[in-house]
C-alpha cells in the first residue's frame, strides 16, 4: 500500500514512467537500426536509471530488480563491453513490457502483481557476458584488429563495426525517423509544462467560440457606425480575440506523434511474429490534432496497421518471387488538407484482390450477381466495410479475421470522418482516413445563392471571377452539355451552386447576358468554378458540427453562425467536387492514365468540322483518306447501314449529322453534304458531316476528359474547344461487328 504523503509522488511516478517507457520503445528500435549510436545508449541508460531510482525510493522491489538488471546490461553497452544485438534489444523490450505490466498492477491494486520475472532476469544476466576483447567503437584500426581474431567473434560484428563507424555521421540522414523523434522528445520535456484538466479546456474553448461570434457582430456594427473611437476599439478587440483564439486552440492540440510514436515498436513486433520484414516510414509526426481525435483514432489506425502487416505485405520469399525487395515498406503519413486531418497508411504489398472481395460478398449474400458484374472497381473495394465480411484465408492471432473493417469504419464515422481505400493488385494498398477538425475557426468566404448564405473555406479558394461582356460571349462554351469556361488556356468546368445543391431558382433566372460571378475552387486535384448569386465578405467563422444525417449528404462540412445570428452551412468543397465528378466524365486519375498512354510531345494535325449548327469536332488527319461531297439522294440502305457508292466502292456511312444532335437534320434530297472518307484497320468508312471547317494543330497531351463514348477528349484547336472523335469507339458504337464482317461485305460488292 502507498503511504498517503507519497500518493502524489506515486501518481507522478506512474505518469512519467509511462511516458518514459514509450520513449524507450522508440529509442530501442532506433538503437537496433544503428547500434553505434552512443548518444542513444547514454539516453536510454539515463532513463532506465531514473526509473530504477524511483522504484527504490517508492519501495517497489520487483520493479527495482528488473530495472536494475536491465540497467547493468545497458551500462555494459555504454562502456563498450557488449554490442547491442537484436536479441538484446528484444530482451530489453520485453523488460519494458514487464515494467508496464507491474505499473498496471500498481495503478489498479497498489501492489506489484503476482508474476515472477525470474526467467527474464536470467536472460538479461546471461546477456551480460562481455563478448569482445576490444572496444568496438574505437576507430577503424581497432575494427581491423578485431578482424584478425575471427575465431573469437561472431562474423557479423566486424561488418557491423565498420558500418557503424561509417554511418555514425550519416545516422541523422537515415530513414529511421524514430531517431529524429527521440532527439526531439527530450526538447519537449525540458520545456516547462503544466497539467490541465481537459474539461476546463473544453469550457474555455466553448467560450472562445462565443467570443468569436460576438467579435464578428461587434466588427459588423462598428463598420456601420460613424464613431472613429468605436471602430478603433473594435479593431483592437478583433486583434486580441484572434490571438487569444489561436493560442487557446493550441492548448488542446497534441502532435499526432502521440500515436505514431508507438508504431515503431508495434510494427517491429508485428513483423517479427508474422515472419515479415517491414520498414516503417513515418511522416508528419508533428502535425497537431485535437486531443479528442487522437483518442478516437487510436484503435482504428492500429487495426489498419495490423492488417497491412498481416495481410498486405507479403513474406520475403513471396516478395522476392514477385521481383520486389524482401523488405516491405509501410508508410504512415499525417497531413492537413481542406480543413481536415488526413492519415494515410500505404504499403507496397499484395494489394486487395477485388475479384476475391466480390466473390466473398456474393457468397455471403451481401450483393446480388447483377451488382457483382456491374460494380466498378472503385466501389468494389468498399464492400469490405460491410458487416459480416471477411476475405482472410486464415484467422491469425495478429489481426483476427483481418476484418473488423466495419468496426474501423463505424468508429471513424463516429467522429464525422471518412475512410477510403485505393488498392492495386500486386502493387499495394493505400488507405486514407479523413477527420474533420470539429471545433475549428477557419477563414471563409461567404456567398449567396437563392436567397441563402453559404460559407466556403478559404483553403479551397483559388480565385474569384466576374465573367461578363466579351469574356462571357467568347470564353463560355458548352462541351457535351456541360458549361465550361476557358480560363487562361485551361478548361474550367462550371456549376451553379443551386444545381450542386439541388435547389431551384437563384442563378438560373438571370438572362444569358448577365455577368456570372464565379468562385474558383480546388479540391484535391480537381478545379472547378462555382456560379453564385452574390459574393459577400471574407470572415473567420467558427465551424460547428452538424448532425450525421446532414454530414451524410457529403456536401456540407459543418455550419456556422454569421454576424447577424443566422445559421449558414459550410460547403464541403471536396464533397461537392466528388459529386460533380460522378457526372463529368473522368476524374484526375483516369485522366493522367489516359494521358500516359498517348504520345506526348509531337503536335498532331486535325481536320475540324461541324456535324450540327454549333458543335466543333475533329478527327486526327492520319485517319482521313479524302473528303468528298455528295447529294443526300444518293444514300442507299443495306441492312443496318446506310451506304454510298463512291468511286466504285460501297462506303458504309456514319451519319454524324444525325448522331451528335439526336434528331435528324432536315433531309433535303438535293442537299449536298460533305463526307470524310476514313480508313481504319483496313476498312473504309464515311463520316457524314455538315461542314468542313479547317485543319489545325493540337497536342494530344493537352486533351481534357471526354464527355461521350466516341469522343476521345477535348482540345483547344484554333482557340476554340473541340471534341476529338475516337473513330474506333464511334464504329463500335454503331455496330460492334463491323470489322468482323469485313470478308462478307467485300464478297457482295457489285
Amino acid at each position: 500500500m502507498i503511504d498517503e504523503d507519497l500518493r502524489e509522488t506515486f501518481l507522478i511516478f506512474i505518469a512519467e514512467s509511462h511516458e518514459n517507457l514509450d520513449k524507450l520503445d522508440q529509442n530501442f528500435i532506433a538503437l537496433e537500426e544503428n547500434p553505434a549510436n552512443q548518444e542513444m545508449i547514454d539516453d536510454i541508460f539515463r532513463t532506465v536509471h531514473t526509473i530504477k531510482g524511483m522504484c527504490g525510493f517508492m519501495g517497489f522491489g520487483k520493479l527495482e530488480k528488473i530495472t536494475h538488471t536491465g540497467e547493468s546490461l545497458l551500462s555494459m553497452m555504454r562502456s563498450g563491453e557488449v554490442t547491442p544485438t537484436p536479441e538484446m534489444i528484444s530482451l530489453l523490450l520485453l523488460m519494458l513490457d514487464a515494467v508496464r505490466e507491474i505499473l498496471g498492477h500498481l495503478e489498479k491494486t497498489e501492489t506489484e502483481g503476482p508474476t515472477i520475472y525470474s526467467g527474464l532476469l536470467d536472460l538479461l544476466q546471461a546477456m551480460q557476458k562481455p563478448d569482445q576483447p576490444k572496444d568496438w567503437r574505437a576507430s577503424k584500426p581497432a575494427a581491423k584488429a578485431a578482424e584478425e581474431k575471427p575465431a573469437e567473434q561472431k562474423p557479423v560484428e566486424p561488418a557491423k563495426a565498420a558500418e557503424a563507424s561509417d554511418t555514425q555521421e550519416a545516422s541523422a540522414a537515415q530513414a529511421a525517423t524514430a531517431s529524429n523523434a527521440s532527439a526531439a522528445a527530450p526538447k519537449a520535456s525540458m520545456e516547462s509544462t503544466l497539467k490541465v484538466d481537459v474539461g476546463l479546456l473544453d469550457k474555455l474553448m466553448n467560450q472562445m467560440g462565443e467570443l468569436v461570434l460576438s467579435r464578428n457582430q461587434l466588427v459588423m456594427m462598428a463598420a456601420g457606425s460613424n464613431s472613429k473611437s468605436m471602430q478603433a476599439l473594435a479593431q483592437k478587440v478583433n486583434r486580441i480575440t484572434s490571438e487569444l483564439q489561436e493560442g487557446l486552440m493550441k492548448t488542446r492540440m497534441q502532435p499526432i506523434d502521440t500515436l505514431f510514436g508507438k508504431y515503431p515498436r508495434l510494427i517491429r513486433d508485428l513483423a517479427k511474429s508474422c515472419g515479415k520484414e517491414v520498414k516503417l516510414v513515418l511522416e508528419g509526426r508533428d502535425r497537431e490534432v485535437d486531443k479528442g481525435l487522437i483518442e478516437a483514432l487510436k484503435d482504428p489506425l492500429t487495426h489498419l496497421l495490423r492488417n497491412s502487416v498481416d495481410h498486405g505485405i507479403e513474406t520475403p520469399a513471396v516478395r522476392r518471387e514477385a521481383g520486389k525487395a524482401p523488405e516491405g515498406v509501410l508508410a504512415v503519413k499525417a497531413y492537413h488538407e481542406s480543413g481536415q486531418v488526413v492519415v494515410e497508411i500505404s504499403d507496397d504489398g499484395a494489394g486487395i484482390r477485388l475479384d476475391k472481395v466480390k466473390a466473398k460478398a456474393l457468397e455471403k449474400g451481401l450483393i446480388t450477381p447483377a451488382q457483382a458484374t456491374s460494380m466498378p472497381e472503385k466501389e468494389a473495394v468498399n464492400l469490405i466495410f460491410l458487416p459480416g465480411f471477411s476475405t482472410a484465408e486464415k484467422v491469425t492471432n495478429v489481426s483476427g479475421r483481418g476484418v473488423g473493417m466495419d468496426v474501423v469504419a463505424s468508429n471513424i464515422k463516429k467522429i464525422s470522418g471518412s475512410i477510403d481505400i485505393d488498392t492495386r493488385a500486386g502493387l499495394g494498398t493505400t488507405i486514407r482516413v479523413r477527420i474533420p477538425l470539429t471545433l475549428a475557426i477557419v477563414p471563409a468566404l461567404v456567398v449567396g445563392s437563392a436567397g441563402w448564405r453559404y460559407a466556403l473555406p478559404q483553403v479551397n479558394l483559388v480565385e474569384l471571377l466576374l465573367i461578363e461582356g466579351e469574356k462571357l460571349r467568347k470564353g463560355l462554351e458548352t462541351v457535351g452539355g456541360r458549361l465550361v469556361y476557358r480560363l487562361r488556356g485551361e478548361l474550367l468546368p462550371l456549376v451553379r451552386l443551386g444545381d450542386a445543391l439541388g435547389t431551384a431558382g437563384g442563378e438560373v433566372a438571370a438572362s444569358p447576358d448577365a455577368a456570372l460571378k464565379v468562385v474558383v475552387l480546388q479540391a484535391e486535384a480537381f478545379r472547378f468554378g462555382l456560379i453564385v448569386d452574390q459574393v459577400m465578405d471574407a470572415q473567420e467563422i467558427v465551424v460547428k458540427p452538424v448532425p450525421k444525417s446532414i454530414m451524410n449528404l457529403r456536401r456540407y462540412s459543418g455550419a456556422t453562425i454569421l454576424g447577424d445570428g443566422c445559421v449558414a452551412l459550410i460547403l464541403d468543397v471536396p464533397g461537392i467536387a466528388r459529386t460533380l465528378n460522378a457526372t463529368l466524365a473522368g476524374d484526375g486519375t483516369r485522366e493522367s492514365e489516359a494521358a500516359a498512354s498517348r504520345p506526348t510531345d509531337l503536335p498532331d494535325t486535325y481536320l475540324m468540322f461541324r456535324s450540327g449548327k454549333k458543335d466543333r469536332l475533329a478527327l486526327p488527319m492520319p485517319l482521313v483518306a479524302r473528303v468528298e461531297e455528295f447529294e443526300i439522294s444518293r444514300i442507299e440502305t443495306t441492312g443496318k447501314w446506310e451506304v454510298l457508292q463512291l468511286q466504285g466502292e460501297i462506303l458504309p456511312l456514319v451519319r454524324l449529322d444525325k448522331m451528335m444532335n439526336g434528331t435528324a437534320s432536315d433531309d433535303e434530297l438535293s442537299e449536298r453534304l460533305p463526307v470524310i472518307v476514313c480508313r481504319h484497320r483496313g476498312r473504309s468508312l464515311g463520316l457524314v458531316v455538315r461542314r468542313i471547317l479547317d485543319t489545325a494543330e493540337g497536342r494530344a497531351a493537352d486533351e481534357s476528359a471526354p464527355n461521350r463514348d466516341w469522343v476521345r477528349g477535348n482540345q483547344v484547336l484554333s482557340g476554340q474547344v473541340t471534341e476529338i472523335i475516337d473513330l474506333e469507339g464511334l464504329i463500335r458504337h454503331c455496330d460492334a461487328d463491323f470489322f468482323a464482317r469485313a470478308a462478307e461485305t467485300k464478297g457482295t460488292a457489285a
Partner: protein, 139 residues
Amino acid sequence: MIRRYCAFKLKEHLFGLEVSHVQEIVRHNDYTPVPLAPPGIAGLMNLRGQILMAVDLRGRLGMEPRDRSEESINLILRTGETPVSVLVDDVRDIVEAEEDRRRAPPPHLQGEIGACAEWVLQLEKQTMVILDPNKVLEV
C-alpha cells in the same frame, strides 16, 4: 405516480411529450434550410450560439410538411449530446395525469404516427397521443 406532459398541436391533432424530455420552449426562431436534407429536417437553427437541428414534426409524422411562412414554436428536446428542436404549430398547457390512465396506442394509428406513438391519453375533449422522442428523432 403523476406524469406530466407538454401538450402541443399539429394541425388539429393533439400530441404530448413527457416534460422531462423538453429542455425549453422557444417562440419564433428562424431556421436555415439544408438543401437535399431528408424530409423531416426543416433546417438548422441558432440557440444561444449552439447550432441545433430543427425537425419538421408534421413532415416527420407523415402530415402536411411545414412551410417556411408558417409560424412555429420550437420544442427544444434533450437528447444525447446536442439538443434538437422540434417545430410544432402551437403549445398548450402542461397536462398532468396519473400514470395508470395512459393506454397503449390503438391499432388504427398507422404510419409514422403509429411508429412514434408510445401511449395515448384520453382527455376531456380529445385524445392526446404521447410520442416517444427517440423514435421521433430517428430521422
